[in-house]
């Protein structure tokens, strides 16, 4: 996710402390000149990873520190999970299978490698899903399991979660 705030003296430091306090992980700090605001004011964007359900606490802590968050930005696809599918992937409409994940809006298929089998033999594919949060990843995998059951595909999940 992305937090945007005004870069007033001391604000950045005040903002970073609560992030680590709630177990967040800062990925990038970006300074940006915003055209719509006064020329002298800079916008700061902090890109960070946050454990599930900590956003409210973080915002509260930031308020206490006097940091004003202008905008809570669009979340990025931080979580990645690679699975293997086996079955009649083409006959069962592979693009529909992918689409069902993409349709969630918070998870998407970012890579797909398909091994072409002998005619009429089941095919195998490796599929990489990215999602905004761990919960969304679990949801995406649940969707995939459902599709697999319906289309009689075998899904091989990784040993460890995303």
């Amino acid at each position: 996710m992305k937090l945007e705030m005004k870069d007033q003296p001391g604000q950045l430091v005040a903002a970073l402390k609560p992030i680590s306090a709630v177990g967040g992980n800062i990925i990038a700090v970006i300074h940006q000149r915003e055209t719509s605001t006064a020329a002298e004011a800079l916008d700061v964007q902090i890109v960070l990873e946050l454990p599930e359900g900590r956003l409210e606490t973080l915002l509260e802590l930031l308020r206490e520190q006097g940091v004003s968050v202008v905008r809570i930005g669009e979340e990025r696809l931080l979580y990645k999970c690679t699975l293997i599918m086996i079955g009649h992937l083409m006959h069962t409409d592979l693009s529909d299978t992918v689409d069902r994940i993409d349709r969630t809006g918070s998870a998407e298929v970012t890579e797909l490698s398909l091994a072409m089998p002998a005619i009429n033999a089941p095919s195998s594919a490796r599929i990489t899903i990215r999602s905004t949060t761990r919960t969304e990843m679990k949801k995406a995998i649940r969707i995939l399991r459902g599709v697999a059951e319906q289309k009689k595909l075998l899904i091989i999940e990784p040993l460890e979660d995303a």
Binding site: I84, L154, I156
Partner: protein
Amino acid sequence: MMRIALLGFGSVGQGIARAILAKDLNITVTGLADSRSGITDPAGIDLAAALDRKGNGGPCGTPGVSPADVVAKAEYDVLVEVTPTNVETAEPALGHIRGALGRHKHVVTSNKGPIALAYPELRALAEANGVLLKYEATVCGAIPLIHAMQEGLAGNTISRLYGVFNGTCNYILTRMAEDSLTYEQALAEARELGYAEADPTYDVEGIDAAIKLVILANTLLDMQTTLDDVERTGITLLTPDALRLAEDLDCTIRLIGEIVPEAGVLRVSPRIVPKAHPLVVEGTLNAVTVEADLAGELTFIGKGAGSTETASAVIGDLLYIHDRYVQGS
């Protein structure tokens, strides 16, 4: 000297007999039975002769003497139940075990059926009769997993337990990955080497691994589960392509049994595992990782089957009982 009655004189039973003959274990066999015969002798049965008879295709004892006769009449301290596993009824082992416990005899078994299906009842019966029921050999052959969890990790809370519980599947998957064999080719090879049964269903569909999870869940993790509670997918549909796709990521595929007690999850399924992971063992080996709150993560690796290896687990249980209960007798 501890006296045992041995029910079942196949791979495991003969392994136990050979170990008793070869080593000074202070164990005498006073009762012995296979599917067709039985023999009792309070002074000790001649095991070498019994092995010879069996080796020549004969019965181990006297035709007409049944296992039930041995259970009920032989003079022994511990019944060793190593007859074939039945996952639906657990019989005839269940009856044998009840009979022995009822006679105030300890029981050691390698038979998964009775432990998976009737552990609470059998344990209560053992307690009521002041004897022990031990079953180390039911899970992962030679690996002393149950002992480790009951004794060494006694004060720990287990958050997750997962691993390779079936050597047959592990062999097939190892071969598919190594030489791009198809599932059918690898299975044929496993059969030729005696690693797979003529009907491999029980192994390749994950049933064997699932029963082991039920045993661990019910006897060590305070759960009350049955085979039906295990989400189960076997390895029969795996393709060499799938293994190659895993290989591209420096991973491979293994049949993994997993228990997450808090979430109530029991599942057996093929999983993508990094090749450097300690659970990626070769051939027929078994490997189990336990995540414990105090001890941290532990991984046990060893032979999950085999005549001598399984006998090792049975003998470990026997000597445990001997040290605590039969000393001086």
